[in-house]
Amino acid sequence: MKAPLVGVAGMTHLGLVSGSALAGHGFEVVCFDRDQALVARLERRDWPVLEPGLDSLICANGARQRFTGTAKELASCDIVYVAPDVPTDDQGRTELSGLTALIRDVAAAMNSEAVLVVLSQVPPGFTRGLGLWPSERLFYQVETLVFGQAVERAMKPERIILGCADPGAPVEPRYRALLTAFDCPIMPMRYESAELAKISINCCLVASLTISNTLAELCERIGADWAEIAPALRLDRRIGSYAYLSPGLGISGGNLERDLGTVLSLSKTHGTESGLITAVVRNSRYRRHWALRQLHARVLSRVADPLIAILGVTYKENTRSIKNSPAVALIHQLIDFRIRVFDPAVRPSPQWHPGMTVADDALACCDGADAMVILTAWPQFRSLRPSELRGRMHGRVVIDPGSVLDRAAATGAGLEHVVLGAPSPAQPQQ
């Protein structure tokens, strides 16, 4: 059988990475977006997202992957993915009207024998409710995007979860041939199961995170160290080596919040018990302000007119996303204080804080600071030498939730190194 020609519509994060991965597996891929300016940018190889390995993958794809702003070019495709990022608001609510409109436009441009695949994450019931494409050639494929690891995960998925109208029916041959190229288990199931499967994965992840946060906070109070405990848990086969056991500053990025909101909404509608999800949301809100509480106790309530250095504003490393970023939240809270900020990927917006200054590098950010807060674990921050920081800072408080700095070196350099899940350094008495 001739290899299928693949179309991917929606060239934001998910579509761009997924289209590139399809081309990376040898398929010819037409990447479409209605935004002509975005297409022009892509043709200049100016990627709108930061994702390790993306540039080299697209370069290696060469002519197999092309960009277009013309929907008609999808007419020759055997399989068309619709994959725009679905926006969410600060409350985690999904706005689906853009996706629905794009699906309608794409379906109108496709040839009538092609396969339509919804790749964007949608709530249960969405795919079956579309009603504009023959159900035997309409699929919902669960996306596996993880910011900062998207290329690797798109190229080598652990499995492909496939929502179908009838999971007992054979998958359309061209589509099956495409999926087989990824050399992983293919798991057909009804649309609603696949739609909920993605949400279920995220719920399991946030449950692990919440457990880690809960126990890590206890560690901080009783002299235990979560960094010692977590490896023991990873060796338990019932938990696993890839479990989300790193404590954090609450859930951010937007996607997990959206899924929690979806479960709560479904639970309210259908009258099911969702106390665990409510607890996860509450814990996330509580942990979000951990850095502020530490700063208050150690600096803001003790030092007159302190200067606070903030390293990192993205919600995690290797991304430009600041959606629900703890750093941006902290910056807003420090409106009455002097702050200096540095992030290697994002230029902080003056709207966040009128008195904020922006540094050109991490060390310059720390000059004369009474405290430093490391809120994104960018790899380059790991090479900062605590002794040099101590020499450049005015104070010695370093709030480092993810333990980016070497703890022994930081303590040895005389820094008051405050880490999530680690015994809390004593606050000096005034």
Partner: protein, 297 residues
């Protein structure tokens, strides 16, 4: 709901009227306002009996437009725990509501209590549902609802944890009673071994926070607590140590299960990020000094 400031920078109101100015907190609040060069009038039950049927009119006559009213007045549990006390307390709130409909004030600050919370939740924040388990807690919660629905003024509700300091007129279990026992009897009597953890707020810090709420024209809900909880045993030991005399701390057979209470003060930190609380040791030492000074003269 949390606290929101009307003024980004502190702004002095034209006048502050303190209801319950004869009490432990009220006296200090009037003094603090005056020290901050804010005109302040203290009204006690001798000036206006808020539980009286004619109290609304009497209070309205004493209010000026644009006043900030701080409502501290309450019959505390040592004055009675029965429904009669409850109804008198609610009558006070009704009078305040009615007075604010007659005179357009700038801000109403209500000093509520952490008694609105149940001990089933050990880490309390403003998101914790109010679930009073006695009439005193129910009184405060009812007053909050009355003020929110019937008072005509921007409203700040402050839920205070237990306050300690010299001049306290109550004798409830905790630092105030321990201080008196230590000075008077040379002993502090604990329930059980004093294992319960509680947050204790020094009166000067409570007053400072209320003044901040006045100056910022704040509205909404805020718990006033330090975020640090100590066992009653620890408080008793600190008192014994700082008393300057021999004080025996005694245990007794436990009558009730141990319960703890902690506060998540994130919202307080967000509202007042440079607020510095006296540590319990500092506050107890300051209280001792004040009590000894009062005793001398």
């Amino acid at each position: 709901m949390t606290l929101a400031h009307a003024h980004s920078e502190p702004r002095k109101p034209t006048r502050v009227v303190v209801l319950g100015a004869g009490g432990f907190l009220g006296r200090r609040l009037v003094e603090a306002c005056r020290r901050a060069d804010v005109p302040a009038v203290g009204l006690s039950s001798r000036d206006v009996d808020l539980a009286d049927a004619a109290a609304a009119g009497a209070l309205a006559e004493r209010l000026h437009p644009h006043d900030v009213v701080v409502f501290l007045a309450a019959l505390t549990p040592d004055k009675g725990r029965d429904s009669g006390t409850l109804m008198r307390n609610l009558a006070m709130a009704r009078a305040v509501c009615e007075a604010t409909r007659r005179v357009q004030i700038a801000q109403l600050i209500y000093a509520s209590s952490d008694a609105v919370y149940s001990f089933a939740t050990t880490l309390i924040s403003e998101d914790t549902p109010a679930a009073a388990t006695d009439l005193y807690g129910a009184m405060h919660r009812t007053r909050e609802l009355m003020l929110a629905s019937e008072a005509k003024a921007p409203l700040a509700i402050l839920r205070l944890t237990a306050i300690y300091g010299a001049g306290d007129t109550h004798n409830s279990y905790g630092p105030n009673r321990f201080l008196r026992q230590a000075l008077g009897e040379g002993r502090v009597a604990l329930f059980g071994d004093g294992e319960e953890r509680r947050d204790h707020l020094y009166v000067t810090d409570a007053v400072a926070l209320i003044v901040e709420v006045v100056m910022r024209g704040s509205t909404g809900l805020l718990n006033l607590a330090t975020g640090q909880s100590f066992t009653f045993r620890a408080a008793a030991d600190m008192i014994a140590t700082s008393s300057g005399r021999t004080v025996v701390v005694t245990s007794s057979a436990r009558q009730n299960p141990v319960s703890h209470r902690h506060f998540d003060i994130t919202n307080l930190v967000r509202a007042f990020p440079d607020m510095r609380f006296k540590s319990l040791a500092e506050g107890l030492a300051a209280t001792f000094a004040d009590m000894k000074a009062e005793a001398r003269g």
